[in-house]
């Protein structure tokens, strides 16, 4: 059996590295984390000619081997550690045909590590639009490598790349240039002190905060025969090295690349002028958001109604088919109802991620980052804060991790603290069900009130985050400086495969990640709602029969009364009544209180919890929405979910820190319990007060 080849896919951000990864691996890929840290690790398997298999790691995008963030550390540490099980047999360095000069810096550094490296020149389909032509033979000779010219969009060049990978042993490992010339004496001493080590590795160890094998910086410094330079001298040498590399790249590209501007048919500048315009830019962004939210509602109705109906029928079928008893009830009322509460939101979540993926793939999202930086600055946030704030619409956890590339601690801390205000996908099920219950179905200028409400909630979350940042910027007395650099990729038509994989991956992680928690909580809630202590629960039937003996109720009414009495005296009923005085001023009953408490594990549990509580003892085959719509307010009368309580709930969820995992990640990122606790207390207080004011005014 042939050996499996290890491949590291490396490249600058926005070079289409992930498209190459997708083209090579297809669906044979998995996403995880690097051990001990939270940088995403994408791996996949690729079948090569002659039955050879390749294990591919899609490494985080990096501009050079001079690390400045955790993501970049991961790349360097893998390339320096030959003992790592993922150490590459061959590095595939992906570059973008329009940014070859900048991309080749990283390539020449990797070559210096004497790892066989293949250069992929991606986005070849754009060459004719930009008037670019390449002398591949010359480039291969100068760069001492093999080049694959690839267009993932047109699916061209992938077979050639696979062929080059399978023949990687033929690729020269000689460096492109001699970096030691920047200071011959210093490098000679280094070579003499460590004769068995690769010189460029030693140089990276001296200049970076990384290690490899058994050699670390302290050890190098401890060797008497070698004295390293001061930090400022090392920085100067690093700059010299970079200049030398660019001189080499310039000379190579002067002969190997021709750009005929007269042949270019460039629309980018024209688009940029409009999309980043200080008036039109914001207006277009606003209109795009409006379209997205409208589409989420209009397109999801049919599949959502279908899923809701299927779960209602399934629950009914289980109850009628399986032998009557506690476990059958658990299946029908706990597990199926709880699962229904999450599966129903798949269409809307898939549509949301579909639009986000299209915006990212097309290159528009980078324009939004640039556009919003103008606003962010005024509120004491970095332009880079926009990335966590936008990613926060998916989930606050990766968004908070994404703050690691913000250099200023103050800006990073503020971004961490305000990101949970942005509307994450876990809030979406709560918003959708409440909006469907309390906002009328009419339309304004062709836009449904429900879609407009949803958009307002997203804007409210974003607005609160920005205003909170402004306040925190004034309160927190931490001094720091920062700068903002954003890469503007070219506009391109989104690749269907990339968009589909993103939607699939995000929806899958939402359903399976949250689904398992919801299922477990649904089971526990059903148990707590179906069992209880004391006479009131165990003798519910006799107590109710005695109480209503004079009213001549029919069997169905009597069963309803018994179920209601049991629920009220069950474990969950007792707990719910205990917290009711606190939540009653907000317009909620004890059942909503339980849903709020249980949704502290994850916000989306709210709907599943209500679906479970309302199902217990309820023999009607009905949908979640109808069951919630039928609930009566025990104190005020009328529907429990009316406009006042609905708005109150929406506001509560817009502001409350209802997520255990987010608190855990904030603790991890700030290395202190002070910030997550402060965040929890302040966000809950804002949520409670706004929900209280809303209900008291609207009731």
């Amino acid at each position: 059996m042939s050996k499996q080849i290890n491949i590291a896919l490396i490249g600058n951000p926005n070079t289409g590295k992930t498209s190459v990864f997708n083209a090579l691996t297809g669906l044979n890929q998995k996403v995880g984390n690097y051990p001990g840290i939270t940088v995403e690790k994408k791996e996949g398997i690729c079948k090569l000619p002659r039955g050879v298999k390749a294990h591919i790691i899609d490494l985080p995008g990096t501009y050079s081997l001079n690390a400045s963030s955790l993501d970049e550390n991961v790349v360097i540490e893998l390339l320096l550690n030959k003992n790592d099980k993922d150490f590459p047999d061959v590095a595939v360095v992906v570059s973008d045909v329009e940014n070859l000069k900048r991309n080749l810096l990283l390539f020449t550094q990797i070559k210096d590590l004497e790892i066989p490296a293949i250069l992929v020149i991606n986005m070849a389909d754009r060459m004719k639009y930009k008037g670019i032509s390449l002398d591949i033979d010359f480039l291969e000779q100068e760069l001492k490598t093999k080049i694959a010219v690839v267009s993932t969009r047109k699916k061209e060049g992938i077979d050639n790349l696979k062929h080059l990978i399978s023949n990687y042993k033929d690729i020269s490992t000689a460096p492109c240039l001699n970096a030691s010339e920047i200071d011959k004496d210093y490098f000679d001493k280094l070579r003499k002190a460590f004769p068995n080590q690769l010189l460029y590795k030693l140089w990276l160890v001296i200049t970076q905060d990384v290690n490899f094998g058994k050699t670390d910086r302290n050890e190098i410094e401890a060797i008497a025969s070698f004295k390293t330079k001061s930090k400022s001298d090392l920085k100067r040498l690093q700059q010299k090295e970079t200049i030398k590399r660019y001189q080499f790249i310039n000379n190579t590209l002067k002969k190997g690349q021709t750009i005929d501007v007269s042949q270019a048919k460039d629309l980018r500048t024209k688009f940029d002028r409009i999309l980043t315009h200080k008036v039109w830019g914001y207006l277009i962004f606003f209109l795009i958001l409006l379209t997205i939210f409208q589409a989420i509602y209009d397109w999801s109705t049919v599949p959502m109604d279908f899923i809701d109906g299927v779960f209602a029928n399934l629950s009914d079928w289980v109850k009628n088919t399986l032998p009557a008893g506690a476990f059958t009830n658990l299946l029908a009322e706990g597990i199926i109802s709880g699962l229904g509460g999450i599966v129903i939101f798949i269409p809307q979540i898939a549509f949301l991620f579909l639009f986000i993926a299209i915006l990212e793939e097309s290159g528009y999202m980078s324009r939004v980052v640039f556009l919003m930086d103008r606003i962010m600055r005024r509120f004491g946030l970095s332009g880079k804060s926009i990335v966590p704030l936008i990613s926060g619409t998916a989930c606050a956890i990766p968004a908070i991790m994404a703050t690691r590339n913000i250099e200023s601690w103050k800006e990073r801390l503020i971004t961490i603290l305000v990101t949970p205000f942005t509307t994450c996908s876990a809030r979406l099920p709560v918003y959708l069900i409440i909006i469907a219950l309390v906002i009328p179905e009419g339309r304004f200028l062709g836009l449904s009130y429900q879609a407009l409400t949803l958009m307002l909630l997203y804007l409210l979350g974003f607005g609160t985050a920005v205003v909170s940042a402004y306040i925190l910027n004034k309160i927190l007395k931490i001094k720091s400086k920062t700068f903002f650099v954003v890469e503007m990729p070219n506009y391109k038509l989104p690749l269907f495969k990339n968009v589909a994989l993103t939607v699939l991956e995000k929806t899958k992680s939402f359903v399976f990640g949250a689904g398992k928690i919801i299922l477990a909580i649904s089971i526990i809630l059903w148990f707590l709602a179906s069992y209880g202590p004391g006479e009131q629960f165990n003798n519910a039937e006799n107590i109710v029969k005695t109480e209503f003996a004079s009213q001549n109720l029919d069997q169905e009414e009597l069963n309803q009364k018994i179920a209601s009495h049991k629920l009220e005296h069950s474990f969950i009923g007792i707990a719910g009544h205990a917290i009711e005085p606190v939540i009653r001023p907000l317009g909620y009953d004890w059942k909503i209180g339980i849903a709020i408490v249980s949704s502290f594990a994850a916000r989306e549990v709210f709907v599943g919890t209500l679906a479970t509580i309302y199902s217990v003892g309820n023999d009607d085959e009905d949908t979640i929405k109808n069951r919630m719509a039928g609930e009566v307010n025990p104190i005020l009368g009328g529907p429990l979910f009316n406009f006042a309580s609905g708005i109150s709930l929406l506001l509560f969820y817009a502001f409350a820190m209802q997520c255990m995992s987010t608190l855990a990640i904030v603790k991890k990122e700030t290395n202190s319990w002070k910030w997550p606790i402060l965040q929890l207390v302040i966000m809950t207080a804002i949520a409670y007060i706004t929900a209280l004011i809303a209900f008291q005014f609207l009731k």
């Binding site: 840290i37 955790l70 658990l330």
Partner: protein, 43 residues
Amino acid sequence: MNTVIQNILVFITLGFALWFLWKKYFFKKKTKKACGTDDCGCH
């Protein structure tokens, strides 16, 4: 008999649910430290 079996199944399912949540939120998995964090021991 049927009632007893059904109740046993309920308690087993409940046990699994509790175990899952305990594992998810309170049981910290030991991970091999890698470079990248201040406390990884590499620097």
